[in-house]
Symmetry: C2
Subunit: 216 residues, 2 copies
DNA sequence: AAATTTAACTTAACAGTGTTAAGTAAATGA
DNA sequence: TCATTTACTTAACACTGTTAAGTTAAATTT
């Protein structure tokens, strides 16, 4: 069995070598200019060598997408210690926004690009976008706790969670695609994208806060 | 002057010919497989002929993006007749969602892709994402009217409009990138993406409705 | 009417992309 | 030692956007 282990270990090592090179190019030069050939030359391999370890480019992009979710987890971990559910929810939104701003490339591959989802469809394994579902589940659970404290309506927490996620994701994706800049400028107030993002989020939080115990 | 006019008319005609071919491929085969070569062969030209009428691919994609905003306008025009501002706002959200579902490719190029924004940055004309700003302005104006009727807080309408846009855009982009499918399945309730979208939007509307005159 | 210029294209080519098939050299097993 | 597997590389295909140079016909000028 030792030989077997050694073999799979070796295989895993090279996979990691390739993935790390891909990640490096990805964060330094962006997705657009991360080609199979560049990844290969980064580790001194020929382009086709990658195909011995990954099925195709979609496969390595999917792994990158998974790396992104690992990174997001390290951002969200500390939130588990926040006792008050609404405080936790606010921090969740903040952290999500920060993650998107600090790692726009990862955010893109995780939440904006079609490729990783297509890869999931083509590889009908039992895992169905685990990372995304886990994060969404965290929002749902937190919302449900908030409801018990009088926040939001008594609606299905899934729907409310989707509103929250949709809003924050919407802001992040408009920010990343520079559309927040474009609507902010020349608008008398002359607000920067960052200021718009900040103010919109704050305004949303206080809107939810103010509607506590309205109970529809 | 007649010669001049004839010349520019001819030039405009061919530009339209190219753009229509691009649009056809765009809606029938999607952005991914709309290449300069396919556009050219669609109208019986050689690939390089396009470059006599458009600077580069980004240029024709930008025009496609403009076509999208023309189309969106035809969707939004009828809303001007809705007197009650909150009714108009609800209809605006609905219409926006419908547009995204009926024309996902146009929606992508208008609100999700980076290319058209890069094109704007590289062509420093006086127009700064006119279509986007006009639509966002429509939301702001409607929100402002809603505020006068006791809806929302007395916050800057720009911030509230951005929340609304962010939420609806977030839902649309999660829908288009099939992420709503992925989080909806296997979730006991087993909701389809369409049902999730629908319920989240309805829940949001009734949340805003219920908080009327809370006045923070 | 003839010569020249300009307009509207095409052909060939470059540099890049993802990907497959075939070939090679070294390590391993019998 | 010989055969086989492992781990790669080289060459090639079919694309992509794009540029430079060449062609052909129409318009303009002389």
């Amino acid at each position: 069995m030792k030989g077997e282990d050694k073999k799979t270990n070796r295989k895993e090592d090279v996979r990691k070598l390739i993935l790390d090179a891909a990640k490096k190019l990805f964060v330094e030069e962006g997705y657009q200019s991360t080609s199979m050939r560049k990844i290969a030359s980064e580790i001194g391999y020929s382009p086709t060598a990658i195909y011995l370890y990954y099925k195709d480019k979609g496969d390595v992009v999917y792994e990158l997408h998974q790396e992104g979710f690992s990174l997001l987890k390290t951002y969200l971990m500390p939130l588990a210690t926040v006792e008050a559910p609404f405080e936790r929810l606010k921090a969740l939104g903040r952290t999500y926004l920060n993650f998107a701003k600090e790692h726009p490339d990862f955010y893109e591959v995780m939440f904006m690009m079609k490729e990783p989802m297509v890869h999931l469809d083509n590889n009908p394994t039992n895992e169905m976008w685990e990372g995304g579902k886990e994060m969404f589940g965290f929002i749902i659970a937190t919302i449900a706790e908030c409801q018990q404290q009088g926040y939001f309506s008594k609606d299905n927490p899934q729907y409310i969670a989707l509103q929250a996620w949709g809003l924050v994701h919407g802001l992040c994706s408009l920010y990343i695609t520079t559309r927040l800049d474009k609507v902010g400028m020349e608008n008398i107030s002359e607000l920067s994208a960052d200021a718009l993002l900040e103010n919109a989020y704050k305004s949303f939080v206080s809107f939810v806060e103010s509607s506590k115990n309205s109970k529809r």
